[in-house]
Symmetry: C2
Subunit: 459 residues, 2 copies
């Protein structure tokens, strides 16, 4: 528990606590200054600071918080930090923390905890909370069901506005949001949604059925949370009803959980697009070994494929020995092809992610990317012929130019189509990363180069 | 204006309208089926369909909408579509559409319209709306001021809960949101924020000052909208107060505008990370020539830099002629270096974007990425020596392995540090794209390879 800070301590540490980071203060054992720092910052700033620390320091910093803010901070920490903190807690304190979490946050935390800790957490819950958590844990990982809040205020169509407002006042305290009020029929099937502002701003003679928006966007609990969050962004919806297969209301996906889902999905996309696996947790808190592991898989895989470039070059070794100038342009040619491919793939991965392109657009995207690749290749090919003349004769320069045209076409096609094909095959398009595209273009581009050279130079 | 659809037409087109896209129906002039399609879809689905069309088809499809939904659709269209529609409108209809937009949406649309059309739009507005729009247009592009809504319900600390609720009922109809209620002092300086749900759920004896959250997160109107939207996501805030330099309240940035800002910023980051400029509008609606133009600038620039690889290879041409086997491994070596660099840069760009890494972390990030690069390089180098023995002798294989170790270190450092250095220089880190990193690593990697070869093989 936090110790009282004397005025003298406060005065000397004041200056330092504003300039130094919480991490540095905790690392140096300057707990008085750290406590000062905590007092002077908002909850979300504290969360960010603790997320950056290793588990030991994170627990130490967390212990310095006064108990009011500790709940709020705990709720927003990364699961790895929550886990470290839970491990050092005992008894009543432990239960209080686990109980303080929203059911959906708790279910997600439990999903990432080791089984032993998770069991202890579940045992510490009240029966009602345990039942709610178990239900949420029953939905697949990354599904909308895992992220929804089951605690919502539900209305019936027949209610008057006054009765509906009374119901909100009556039941609203337990709900995570009262701004979006789902309307259901007698079988609890979702028939519409009413905004709290509509209720409040209409006159009392109105009924819920006058204000209800029917056929609202909704999502099945088993559908991916990312699809639900994208639907919310597209349809400008604050909270999205989550239903079961019979369209019965199960809960709401709220805006803040949707933000978290999108940020997570984008971070995963960014990692995959860069050719790495997503790591769990904060970039600064993850160990170097973990970082290396997320990157090693793809590198080793792609190294194996890259050996094909050695094989291709080996097959044309005689040509390389006859015209040594050919070797000079290898990095330029395959490098440019990889860049054209990277541009096309990142455009298509993004367009797929935000729904601007669908798998059914395959034919149109092929045409567009092929045309773009040819345009770029024609321009770059001419430039390359001009530049090539500085280093070699016209014959090799023309070979370079023609190869570049074809390699740009290849790059645009590989980069533009692979994400769409991946999506059709049920693979995340973001896995078609810059490294994957460049590796494919490296191998095929070399083949093109040597074939063009063999034909045009008669090797 | 829409024409009535007969039952016979409806019956025959029913089947087609469900399967075919709106674009195909409009292209084929099948307006009855298109109208059917519009009737069967939600506003946001219609917006998405129209965004995918060229301007002529977009206007034709828009004309088929009944006037109730036309406003809602118009509001959410891409600016290019809004512009095409405004250009064919005249007189009263024109003014009605422009007036129907929220002031912030209108200001952003105006910012992207050609000056002639923008002037016509401003002239068509009522004096009050024109003043509000002009104020928002006074803030820099991409600033929070451009995206905020100035129409908010403001409270004073002294108010009772009942009086505050009465004020919300009274003034709420014009406001874009009533869920977040800023509290200001007599100089209109922001002192706190009250949630509507808190007002509604508290007992009537309470006052606003009992419920107010003081020192809420806020943003200056001139600050970038992206920073404001990230702050909202970090602090789980639904609507963010926007203030001037004296902390006086100017408006609120609402959750849906923040979503739009983030999606836009991420799309721009994705384009830049792929080595292209961001294009305006929908991927499917943009012309091939525009697509090629967004990509050509970087390609030509990087082609010029890539010529350095030719120069480097040229300088070591004698070595290449003495040991032709060296040429075989060029694509493998620089390819792998580029991949390690791409992984590191995309991790750091993302961590910077979401605030996990700050420019002040430069030293720690250097250490982490150097260690990661060495680890990966050591592993890959050993694999490469083993693989190299299939194609060449031990001496060249060891040269390849040692070069790969150094090139991986190089790649991780270039990829990891450039985004941070860019941010310190005030350049968008996302411009440190995969193509830029691979180009730098290509040139320096070749130098490393030939130097290692010269020293170890005594060339």
């Amino acid at each position: 528990m936090p110790q009282p800070v004397t005025h003298a301590q406060a005065a000397t540490s004041q200056h330092r606590s504003n300039r130094e980071s919480l991490r540095a203060l905790v690392e140096h054992g300057d707990f008085a200054a750290a406590q000062e720092w905590l007092g002077a910052h908002q909850v979300w700033e504290i969360v960010d600071a603790i997320d950056r620390m290793g588990p030991v320091d994170a627990v130490a910093a967390f212990r310095l918080l006064d108990s009011d803010r500790a709940f709020a901070v705990f709720e927003d920490l990364e699961p790895s930090g929550q886990q470290a903190i839970l491990e050092v807690m005992r008894g009543a304190e432990f239960s209080a923390f686990v109980d303080s979490l929203d059911p959906d946050d708790r279910a997600r935390m439990l999903g990432e905890l080791p089984a032993k800790v998770a069991r202890r957490v579940l045992e510490g819950l009240s029966p009602a909370e345990r039942a709610m958590t178990a239900t949420l844990l029953g939905y697949p990982e990354h599904s909308a069901g895992r992220f929804m809040t089951p605690q919502v205020v539900v209305l019936r169509e027949g209610l008057s506005v006054a009765a509906a407002l009374a119901r909100v006042r009556d039941r609203g305290a337990d709900a995570e949001t009262v701004y979006t009020l789902p309307v259901v029929d007698s079988q609890r099937r979702l028939t519409g949604v009413v905004e709290l502002s509509e209720l409040l701003l209409s006159d009392d003679a109105a009924t819920v059925s006058d204000l209800v928006v029917t056929q609202p966007p909704r999502v099945r609990a088993t559908e991916p949370a990312e699809a639900a969050a994208r639907l919310m962004a597209d349809s400008n919806v604050r909270d999205l009803p989550v239903v079961d297969a019979e369209d019965r209301l199960l809960g709401l996906l709220t805006f803040d959980d949707a933000d978290e889902v999108i940020e997570d999905a984008e971070t995963e996309d960014a990692a995959r697009q860069g050719g790495a696996r997503r790591w769990e947790g904060h970039y600064m808190a993850v160990s170097v070994l973990q970082l290396a592991r997320t990157r090693a898989v793809w590198l080793v895989l792609l190294l194996a494929v890259s050996l094909l470039t050695v094989t291709v070059a080996h097959a044309f070794e005689e040509a390389l020995e006859q015209v040594a100038a050919l070797a000079l342009f290898i990095p330029l040619l395959i490098g440019t092809g990889g860049k054209v491919g990277t541009q096309a793939s990142s455009a298509c991965v993004r367009a797929l992610a935000i729904g601007e392109v669908r798998p059914s657009d395959l034919a149109r995207v092929t045409m567009r990317e092929a045309a773009t690749g040819l345009l770029l290749g024609a321009g770059l090919g001419l430039l390359a012929i001009g530049a090539g003349l500085w280093f070699t004769g016209l014959d090799v320069a023309v070979v370079v130019g023609v190869s570049l045209l074809l390699i740009c076409l290849l790059g645009a096609l590989v980069g533009g189509l692979s994400p769409l094909v991946a999506r059709r095959l049920g693979i995340d398009p973001a896995l078609v990363s810059a490294p994957v595209v460049t590796t494919v273009v490296d191998v095929l581009g070399l083949v093109i180069y040597f074939l063009v050279a063999s034909m045009m130079l008669g090797l």
